[in-house]
Subunit: 126 residues, 2 copies
Amino acid sequence: MLSLNNDSDIPLYSQLSTQIMESIVRGDLSTGDTLPSVRVLAGDLGVNMHTVNKSYHELESKGIIEIVPKKGAVIKANEQKISAKRIEILSEEFRPIVVEALVNGMKKEEIHQIITNIIIKIKKED
Amino acid sequence: MLSLNNDSDIPLYSQLSTQIMESIVRGDLSTGDTLPSVRVLAGDLGVNMHTVNKSYHELESKGIIEIVPKKGAVIKANEQKISAKRIEILSEEFRPIVVEALVNGMKKEEIHQIITNIIIKIKKED
DNA sequence: AATCTGTTCTATTTCGTCTATAACAAACAT
DNA sequence: ATGTTTGTTATAGACGAAATAGAACAGATT
């Protein structure tokens, strides 16, 4: 179930993108499935149409979905091999958080444990 | 050496905070060391005094440094035991990036490898 | 005594987010 | 065929964060 938090400092469209990606990881959404129209989902979530539209385009730029104008948004099959460029982008996103963990005295294994727990958490939630 | 990127979508004060934390992790800054005054560092980096001030206060809120009014900013000793609350905060920050990695088809071990590489990279840089 | 320090205040510019409304042309449903 | 739904595009406004600028203050340093 999707739900956005207005009080968060994370933009609504980013929250939505992340939650849709979580649904895919969890298996609730699979390759070929279509997402609700921007108007319908906006109505369900109580946000503006453009906010949902922005999220969909963010997902499209990440290669997660395909937007067919006048038709809808479809979940794409995930690439079998992740590109080196994508890994580089992910690394840059991970970096500041890893630094913060390290400066707090955490060891590599403890950070790995946090990652492991997050993965477990994502796959268990509904 | 500190250097900020004006074209980045990451705020200047956040970039600065991260780089200072990296210096600590790397050992270039140790407990008891004092940071440059907000005016001096701002001059070196070519940014406004308030931008550096904001970074220092962000670091103080994270418990990394201590600001003594009219004196300066000093690197604090890192807590021997990281609090559960801090781990929770870090987890929430890690989460969306982990999701993005998973939706790209990465496995747990591959994400661990990215983390490991980041740590190596941080400690090697100058 | 002069300088340097972080602090506080006011002000302005710029940009991203979010909302709102409207119109368009293509796809779809009945 | 008609009416609805679709994503797209455009314009507009409100709001807050980021960043800059300049000035003044009082305590610490030299």
